[in-house]
């Protein structure tokens, strides 16, 4: 019976992807993409990867949807790019089908028994006091990846800000809506956002031992911030705000500081002080959650519009 469920889910996922690719209208394609992200979240649940499912639902479907809808609004209704040559269509279809078939064959030919690092993680995990192996991998065993990823996040925000018309990148990003928020959006922001912040903090707290963690929590907090902006409950902050910039830098630089301190305390870069691993890991997680939330929210809001003249 579970096989039937998986088959239906896979077919729907494929239909969603085809809907995104085949739909000509940009707005419909983005709406289809939001649905596709939702289905992908269900697929991750079926693959026993709940941490990934949480990330996919929050970032892949939720926040990406806001970015893409906003992008569609800013673009002209009819793209002036010429339609591709219809003769190329069958060729492109053949290339993509060939790639899909080759990949499918590779998936069916995966080695048996499957190579796995699960046992290594299981033996090393008790030393960190963490219960969630994915958090362990992200923050301890592959901490360098996570650190660099924080830098990528920050660089991407720098890239977005660099597109501002203001050479100094000052001022507030353009509002999400051209008109004041409708009453239901404002109501939703007032009621849902506090609950959402609570859920975000819960995910951060639960992340040490259960699925959840800094990424998921940061994404939820960013989504709640966007909801508050959409409901006109908070003003979009100006980019030159010192507190804001401090929050942006707290995660990557805090993590880096802990990494360098690792040489002194544990004898290795990104090592955690023996005996106090969990406390330091939680502190790092809190700092990067804050940075992820603020960075994601600001990336969605886009480049600042320049200093206000008042």
């Amino acid at each position: 019976m579970s096989l039937l469920f998986d088959a239906v889910l896979c077919l729907l996922l494929l239909a969603g992807a085809l809907g995104v690719v085949a739909t000509g209208a940009a707005r419909a394609a983005v709406i289809a993409f939001i649905g596709y992200g939702l289905l992908l979240g269900l697929a991750w649940v079926r693959l026993a990867a709940v941490d990934v499912a949480l990330t996919e639902i929050a970032i892949g479907s939720g926040i990406s949807g806001v970015v893409l809808l906003r992008c569609v609004r800013a673009l002209p209704a009819t793209p002036k790019a010429p339609a591709p040559n219809p003769l190329l269509r069958p060729l492109a279809a053949m290339v993509s089908i060939a790639i899909a078939v080759a990949l499918g064959a590779a998936v069916l030919a995966l080695p048996e028994p499957a190579p796995s690092r699960a046992a290594d993680v299981a033996t090393a995990l008790p030393a960190t006091d963490l219960g969630n192996p994915v958090t362990g991998v992200l923050l301890v065993f592959r901490a360098l990846d996570t650190l660099l990823e924080k830098v990528v996040l920050l660089l991407s925000l720098v890239g977005v800000w660099a597109l501002s018309r203001d050479p100094a990148c000052r001022g507030r990003p353009d509002p999400l809506s051209l008109e004041p928020a409708p009453a239901p959006s404002a109501f939703l922001a007032r009621v849902l956002a506090p609950v959402g912040v609570l859920v975000g903090l819960y995910l951060l707290w639960a992340g040490a031992d259960h699925p959840g963690g800094a990424f998921q929590s940061g994404a939820v907090l960013a989504a709640m911030g966007l909801l508050l902006v959409m409901g006109d409950q908070i003003r979009i902050p100006a980019t030159q705000n010192r507190g804001l910039r401090l929050m942006l830098l707290a995660g990557p630089f805090g993590f880096l500081a802990v990494g360098f301190a690792g040489w002194a305390t544990a004898g290795v870069f990104l090592g955690y002080p023996p005996g106090a691993e969990k406390a330091v890991i939680i502190a790092v997680e809190v700092a990067i959650t804050l940075s992820i939330a603020v960075t994601l929210g600001l990336i969605v809001l886009g480049p600042p519009a320049g200093e206000e003249r008042s």
């Binding site: 494929l14 995104v20 893409l68 492109a92």
Partner: protein, 106 residues
């Protein structure tokens, strides 16, 4: 044939869809969406590898899972940056078109 294989094949098909969209999409936004679908398919194959590596009391190998989480966030960054570039590009195009009209008038 198990459910895990099914998801692997679905991932392969998603990659195919993404490649097709990347080649044939009429606008840049369509290409951004197709790129995301391609990425989703690759991540799903990672998920299959993770699920097959289940052991030691974990439902799936945590290392590929962590890689995918990092990947999703990086893919989001790339998408958002591309979308911002696209918006700015269309604004510049509109300005150029307006200036051209003005010059014609005078």
């Amino acid at each position: 044939m198990t459910g895990v294989h099914l998801f692997g094949l679905a991932g392969a098909a998603l990659v195919g869809c993404g490649v097709y969209g990347l080649l044939m999409a009429p606008g840049a936004l369509g290409r951004i969406l197709a790129f995301n679908i391609l990425g989703g398919g690759v991540f799903l194959i990672f998920g299959v590898v993770a699920r097959r590596g289940a052991g030691a009391g974990f439902g799936a190998d945590p290392v590929p899972q962590a890689l995918v989480i990092t990947g999703i966030v990086v893919a989001f960054c790339a998408t958002a940056l591309a979308a911002a570039l696209l918006v700015r590009l269309s604004a510049v195009d509109a300005e150029v078109a307006r200036d051209g009209e003005k010059e014609k008038e005078t």
